[in-house]
């Protein structure tokens, strides 16, 4: 549905995006993740036809974003980063205005405006001036405007920036809901955001793709090997238990902390080791130790994200 081919974009002598290639199949929700200034917005602006690429190309549904720009724009619903709106217009006026720009005839426009007002929970605000709306409602107006012409592709640049936690939850919920029948690109510098909403994540730093995969794949890759946490009351056997754990196959390192007679072991597995929970459980059972916790922590995306972006900065 969306193909970005060897895209490079320079602003003067500054190279914002360097040789990025990306293809998004129909129906996928792709998260563009990267620190501020990584080049996410530039990639999106080229894709939407707002900026021409310096080298390479972008296309949507087979239409080139430069030479067939108006075909591309018809197929895209775009929510720009800062969600710019005309403050003096009423919500409903603005939506009708957008409908006219997309060439919707009167009846189709009426229906479309009602549909997005319903979908973005704007019913009570329809006659309100946009300039007087809270940030959360303004964001909904921006989303409503992007969905108005029912485009097959939605491009949302930082859709939750500046919202409070409840509004963020609502917006994510809406995005998940829209995901069903749209191909979507979502950019964010907030990790949990893309983690919960996207099928696939592309991490961008310093203008280039640094990682690409599903949440699971990246998590595995993020992959410091998994860690295990075990909390038991060893009585006087503390050192012996520790030794037994260290001796288990696949254990790379063990640290412990004692409190109120309980000991908390943090066990790092060797890379490629099998799941250690079973052998840890057996160990506890054999020694009949009182146990109150045993769990595995998988390598977090956060670690991968931080590692990738700091590597990119250092390069």
């Amino acid at each position: 549905m969306i193909v970005i081919d060897h895209l490079t974009k320079c602003y003067g002598s500054f190279r914002a995006v360097a040789d990025v290639s990306l293809s998004v199949p129909k129906g996928q929700v792709l998260g563009l993740l990267g620190p501020n200034g990584a080049g996410k917005t530039t990639i999106i602006r080229v894709m939407t036809g707002y900026l021409p690429p310096t080298v390479g190309s972008a296309s949507v549904d087979g239409f080139d974003s430069v030479t067939q720009s108006s075909e591309v724009r018809r197929r895209l619903g775009y929510l720009p980063e800062s969600n710019p709106l005309y403050g003096e217009m009423r919500v409903i006026e603005y939506l009708h205005f957008r409908g006219r720009l997309f060439g919707l005839a009167r009846q189709a426009r009426d229906a479309a405006v009602e549909r997005v007002i319903e979908r973005c929970w704007l019913r009570e605000m329809r006659r309100r001036q946009i300039g007087r709306l809270s940030k959360g409602y303004r964001q909904r107006v921006g989303l409503a405007a992007a969905m108005l012409h029912n485009p097959p592709v939605l491009v949302l640049d930082e859709p939750t920036s500046g919202l409070d936690p409840i509004q963020i939850r609502e917006t994510r919920h809406l995005i998940r809901e829209l995901a069903g029948d749209h191909t979507m690109i979502l950019s964010s510098h907030i990790l949990p955001e893309v983690e919960v909403t996207c099928d696939r994540i592309v991490i961008i730093a310093r203008g280039a793709i640094r990682a690409d995969g599903t949440v699971e794949q990246l998590r595995r890759k993020g992959g410091d090997a998994p860690r295990y946490v075990l909390e038991v009351r060893p009585g006087g056997e503390g050192p012996a238990v520790r030794q037994a754990i260290s001796a288990l196959p696949g254990v790379a390192a063990v640290t412990e902390a004692a409190r109120d007679g309980w000991m908390r072991f943090e066990i790092t597995a060797a890379s490629g080791a099998a799941d250690l929970r079973e052998s840890l459980g057996a160990l506890v059972g054999d020694r009949r130790l009182p146990c109150r916790e045993l769990h595995r922590e998988s390598g977090s995306l956060e670690q991968l994200f931080v590692r990738i972006t700091s590597e990119a900065e250092a390069a």
């Binding site: 602003y11 003067g12 900026l51 724009r73 205005f97």
Partner: protein, 239 residues
């Protein structure tokens, strides 16, 4: 075409929902009302709108740029240009739509002055032919001023700058074409006088004459400025 009109319509409504629109409107009506009362409305004076039209020419030098200054600069400042330019509309549609919106506001501003001829009618019998021509002239001048204003507004994201540059341009232009030729010999003075808005307006419209060459003069000026504005908007993407 529909998209162009949608943009024009939005612009027109924007004037009526911001303070600037009303201030400009009030200022123009106050000044032109004063002009009318002080120059036309005297006993024993000919029942003609001529002094009103002559002075409106200068008044518009300052009023028109105030109408056009926000057209594109405001979009750039707010960033709304991005959501506008990612709709399926061309740069030309945006520029022409905005200019049309400004012209529509200008016409709305002129409309109340139609009362002046009615006042004249009350006391005497004015020559409607020349009044019609005078209004036609004002519309042409307004449209031309606004076209340059649109261009200025496409170059500078600051409204103040867009206003000052437009006013300065017209003062310079009027100086070069209406004042300088008096001190020059032929052929320069003749050529410059042909380019003078004041000459065109004062000798044609205000006298009740609508000349095709004058119409073409205004049209080509408008086309020139708007084309330049479209090019500027286009070029923004390549930087």
């Amino acid at each position: 075409m529909k998209q162009t009109l949608a943009i024009a319509r939005r612009e027109l409504f924007a004037y009526f929902s911001t303070a600037v629109g009303y201030v400009v409107l009030a200022l123009f009506l106050l000044m032109s009302g004063l002009l009318f009362a002080l120059t036309v409305l005297h006993t024993g004076v000919e029942a003609t709108m001529r002094p009103f039209f002559d002075l409106s020419f200068f008044l518009l030098l300052f009023i028109a740029p105030a109408i056009s200054m926000r057209l594109i600069s405001e979009e750039m400042r707010l960033g709304t240009i991005e959501s506008l330019m990612t709709c399926p509309v061309s740069d030309a549609q945006v520029v022409i739509g905005k200019w049309l919106g400004a012209v529509a506001f200008f016409l709305a501003m002129l409309a109340p002055t139609l009362l002046y001829p009615l006042v004249l009618e009350w006391y005497s019998s004015p020559d409607y032919g020349s009044i019609f021509a005078g209004y036609a002239g004002l519309v042409c001048i307004g449209a031309l001023y606004l076209a340059l204003g649109t261009l200025a507004s496409s170059i500078w994201p600051s409204q103040v700058l867009a206003y000052l540059v437009a006013v300065f341009f017209w003062l310079l232009f009027v100086g070069l074409t209406s004042w300088l030729p008096r001190y020059l010999g032929d052929p320069w003075s003749a050529i410059l006088f042909r380019m003078s808005i004041e000459q065109r307006y004062g000798n044609d419209f205000a006298k009740g004459v609508i000349d095709t060459s004058t119409i073409i003069y205004f049209l080509s000026g408008i086309v020139l400025f708007l084309t330049a504005a479209v090019k500027i908007v286009e070029s923004r993407r390549w930087r």
